[in-house]
Amino acid sequence: MKAAPEIGYRGTIHELQKRLMTRYYDDLTAIAQGGPGRSAQLLIAGNPVEVLRAFDMIPVFPEVNALQLAVRKASLPLIQKAEELGYATDNCAYVKADIGMWQGGGVAPFGTVPKPDILVCNYVGCNVYLNWFEHLAELVGAPAINIDVPFLRTPAGTPTDEDVAYVMAQLTELIQHLERITGAEFDEDKFRGIVERSARVGELWTRIKELTRRRPAPYDAYFDSVTMMAPLYCLRGTPEGLDFFERAYEEMSARAEAGTGPLPQERFRIVIEGPPPWPFLRAFRDMFSRWGAVAVASTYSTVGGLWEFGFRHDPAKPLESVARHMLEANLCNRSMLQRYSQIERYVSEWDADALVIHSVKSCRLFSAGQGDMREHFVHDRELPTLLIESDLEDPRYFSAAQLRNRIDAFFEALEQRRVTAGAIAAEAAARVPA
């Protein structure tokens, strides 16, 4: 039995991220305790943080709160509390943990989440978002608005002109709402500056992602990417957020130049699809590390924004580019077939050996139809593909022994395949006359 190797992935950005997020939650706690400042709740997929930051509102993402609860092993009692109130075992556990947290006044191990000044439901793909904010509106009594973002559904895979106009019109309405709530006038120059910083973050994030094309990949594009995702959403558009990504790029490129990877040896390069099991993140990582498997790309790291294929916020067209980010430059608003293409690009351009699909019960946006995804990659693309199931928030669905057996069997087969392929190649070479 292999033991998980000592992982050398903990760089300075992990510490920096921790400091930034602690400060972020301290600021929110101060507001919750009656201090100055305002907050708005919105959702990760295609989030328009730039508009909120233009009004100095701190964006609060219930998904980030929920995953923080799960990582700190605090989610289960909150989920059960929500189930006592009538939520079903089949409802998204992110929502249930959040509802459970609000029953306790927003108090969490990482700080206190203030009652938001506004609930902005950026409906970008995920239908549960609509339910979630409808329930929060009742529970916390904050004003709520929906921003309806049409799904990418045309054969061209791009938004229609009407879609862009519709989202821009709703963003303008959001701005008017925020002007009323804050009493401040919308400052277009300030907004443009924030969008400019988002564009630079998008560029840096893209460069960071491109580094994992190298062998070895300097970091794990699933397990380490999640460290960078919190600043990407919570701090995008701010000077601290930009500074974080400048330092992250510096550190990751130095590792790439030095040929340092997260593991002593990179034996398998994988693409991971689906959100992580937050309550058991480390245990899950170890299941791959012990095989020398490193993620070189992941779909989960594109839920809030997909920059690596060229999208950038545009300070010359700030509102339109925020609308386009919501419409087309994030995983959640793209179809399953577009996700297949995204994975295909990762496999080919990042030179991966296999695909691992982590199917989570809570998030049907991700999971519904992943059996078809497996069929496609195994039969049409002949790519070794593993489909495993657990959950992103509810620890009751994580069966460590079962997952480990599946993962071990998969990598054993992959290793065997490699040995056999090597033997065949050697035999063929031996047959070539001198």
Binding site: V95, N127, Y166, E389
Partner: protein, 384 residues
């Protein structure tokens, strides 16, 4: 009134006999519409027959589709795909899916990949009812759907055809509203099993043909002499997408309930009133959907908390209780239940939670639960 027993078989027959007959008679194309709400006026205006696809019911065994969709995905998603695998959707030339939930959206993609010969058109329904731009957007979306279906129909779409189509479905929705009102006033005259069968038939026929059947049924039910039974009056919610077996609906009634309002097949009878005519049929339809539709589980309207709609329905229909009959794994429905439960408790309205799957065929347990619920209510009433 006794409904022709053949209709009962028709609505559960996955050979779609009424659709085959229409196709042979007219030579027209057929569009399968996944629940909940489909803009049926658009394909009908193109000379196509929009039909309701409500999965495989309890007549189809899922042998292939469960390799595509996991065990925690609702049955209708899998059984609809299964129908395609076993050739039952060969009668359909195109498919309409809508932004009702995450599995339905992904099903649209999966169907497109597995059955490319049957184009899937995905319709994004608006979810910002407070924006004045939502109606303009939806009108543009309806036009886009028309443009996507026109090549399948083999003809372009004209505004006057859309108006004619709106009129045809208006008459159906009006008849259904009248049948629903009759049942609410005198539930002994038309059972929910009968009403459900009629409404389901609408989803499988040309509206011109089903209008005649509904008109005759309305007249027959109005003339029916029947004595009210000792039953409680209930409003039923939660069955807006996947449909329970007809036998289950009948079991609820036989267990002592008059169902005086429900959300079965709701997307086919969504309008509270007629579409207001103006110059642009798409805009008229869009405004009607946004402002005049019944409370739909899959339409999020921040102007009106959804539990209020249920409480209003209970009061309007003088119901004694509410029954939540939700499809297993239906996330939108299950979310609604949490809101309903709190509101019903606060309003002191008795309620019962039941779960079903379209493929179920034993109803004893549900029947037992409903009988106990009804008895407890009648007992409480007797004590008062």
């Amino acid at each position: 009134m006794t409904l022709d027993v053949a209709y009962r078989d028709v609505i559960e027959d996955r050979e779609f006999p009424t659709v085959r007959e229409w196709r042979e008679r007219t030579g027209g194309k057929v569009v399968g519409c996944f629940p909940v709400y489909a803009p049926v006026e658009v394909p009908y205006a193109l000379g196509m027959l929009p039909i309701g696809l409500f999965g495989g019911g309890n007549r189809v065994e899922i042998a292939n589709a469960d390799s595509r969709f996991q065990s925690f995905i609702c049955s209708i998603v899998k059984s609809t795909m299964e129908l395609a695998f076993i050739g039952k959707l060969d009668i359909v030339d195109g498919l309409l899916f809508h932004s009702i939930c995450d599995p339905a959206r992904n099903l649209s993609s999966v169907m497109e990949r597995n059955f490319p010969e049957r184009p899937s058109v995905y319709v994004h329904l608006p979810q910002n009812m407070t924006s004045p731009h939502a109606a303009t957007y939806l009108a543009a979306e309806l036009r886009r759907v028309g443009a996507a279906l026109a090549p399948i129909a083999g003809r372009p779409l004209a505004d006057e055809d859309v108006w004619r189509s709106i009129d045809a479905y208006e008459s159906i929705r009006d008849l259904l509203r009248r049948l629903y009102a009759l049942r609410s006033q005198t539930p002994e005259r038309i059972s929910t099993g009968e009403l459900y069968t009629l409404a389901r038939l609408v989803t499988l026929m040309d509206p011109i043909d089903s209008a005649a059947i509904l008109t005759a049924a309305l007249a027959a039910a109005g003339d029916r002499e029947a004595r009210p039974k000792d039953r409680i009056r209930v409003v039923l919610v939660g069955s807006f997408c996947e449909q329970p077996p007809l036998e289950l609906i009948e079991s609820l009634e036989e267990s002592g309930c008059y169902i005086v309002n429900d959300d079965f097949l709701q997307g086919w009878r969504w309008a509270q009133r007629g579409v207001r005519r103006n110059g642009d049929p798409y805009l008229a339809l869009a405004r009607s959907y946004i402002d005049d539709s019944e409370h739909l589980s899959t339409k999020h309207d921040l102007r009106r908390p959804r539990a209020h709609a249920l409480l209003e329905s209970v009061r309007h229909h003088r119901a004694d209780a509410a029954i939540f009959l939700g499809a297993k794994f239906c996330e939108p429905g299950l979310f609604d239940y949490a809101l309903y439960r709190r509101a019903l408790d606060e309003a002191r309205i008795p309620h019962l939670f039941l779960e079903f799957e379209e493929k179920m065929w034993l109803y004893d347990r549900v029947r037992g639960e409903v009988e106990t619920f009804v008895e407890s209510m009648l007992f409480a009433e007797a004590r008062v």
